[in-house]
Symmetry: C2
Subunit: 256 residues, 2 copies
Amino acid sequence: MKKKPLILVSNDDGITAPGLRTLIEIMNEIGEVVVVAPDSPQSAMGHAITINSTLHCEKIRVTNGPQIEYSCSGTPVDCVKLAVNELLDRKPDICVSGINHGSNSSINVIYSGTMSAAIEAGIEGIPAIGFSLLDFKWNADFEPLKKFILQITIKALNKGIPSGVVLNVNFPKLKEEEIKGIKICRQANANWIEEFDKRTNPLGREYYWLTGTFINEDKGEDTDEWALNNKYISIVPTKFDLTAHHSIQELNTWDL
Amino acid sequence: MKKKPLILVSNDDGITAPGLRTLIEIMNEIGEVVVVAPDSPQSAMGHAITINSTLHCEKIRVTNGPQIEYSCSGTPVDCVKLAVNELLDRKPDICVSGINHGSNSSINVIYSGTMSAAIEAGIEGIPAIGFSLLDFKWNADFEPLKKFILQITIKALNKGIPSGVVLNVNFPKLKEEEIKGIKICRQANANWIEEFDKRTNPLGREYYWLTGTFINEDKGEDTDEWALNNKYISIVPTKFDLTAHHSIQELNTWDL
């Protein structure tokens, strides 16, 4: 019998998040599962790592499945680094991150801790996928996603994800039968318009809360935003070579 | 007389960092300077933003130049968002970030708070440049960089940076006369091999420090690493559309 794949699971909503619990349940059907997830919510941590402080990481007692679980004090990227370089005795066959409570489509990918965990795995040469649901509620319904996540993960294990690429998978907030299918997309060229809510604390000092509105002026029908708005699951192949290769020639005309 | 350009300055080493002080000094020669920088070191914060907590931002008294300065409790990206959406009365003509104490070449760009500040400005439609010196010491010598930073910034203001692109400029640790020139490069395909230093705290609990070794197996002579190792300043045009466009076709063959 072929050895079961080793699956590393992480997220940014923290080890207790229902989205993570659903992902563990799905992965237990496919392979040998090791979870290394933050001990507290780490949403919007981007690709942050802990370099000026220490990390704690505890193996926790698991009573609801065969998986092994670690709870870590760091960021999602710290979790993946700890897993790969310290906790696991072999390289995982795949890393899955999520299921994120909330969208990581379009520009959100760059702020996302969930996607950064997947991207970090990609940087370390591990096939990786981030899964997110367009519902930020703690009690969001992850049931409709299960069969698709199973299908996408098995396909990725069988086909192999292109080198230097990580999959960013987002799900519309719909019932299973309402989902029309899966589209391979590009990241929509959309953005947040921020507003800071300015308040005064009980001691008279001003402070701010970040708020914002997501604005998509990209009318393309090949984007993740279009797919999600049209009842499709979006998959964006995402890379970590940030070079704008097409601009090298233009910058060479600057004669610096 | 033409109005002076409005220049937003930020960094990740914090408002007191000598690298930031040097950058302010250079920018005062070119335009009207507003500094919005973290009140504490924020290295390796990547594209993190503060969404589950509050932000403080104080205008500070400046005695050493014409610039306006704000000190902010958040990450480098928070600083740029606050500057653009709350503190400035018009859109800056350019945003410069740094000078970072330490390299942001190759894969370091993705972990860098300094580059994330520049990238956030780029996302907001502002021409932006991150500057970094390959010397992480607090008392690093930034003098040799001055004429080049002035030249690159003026060129960017005159020529305009391509849309969707941010410049990642790294300087070798050399005297001015030893620097051979400037190369437009791609990001080297290099990586960190991490090792976690495992220790026991005074209460008997284990903890980790992240350490690592930078490994470059990319032998290309068009990379930032090659340029820096060969006494050139590297400029990588860097983008925030993370789509791996070349992989869309391949993923479409998966028949999901």
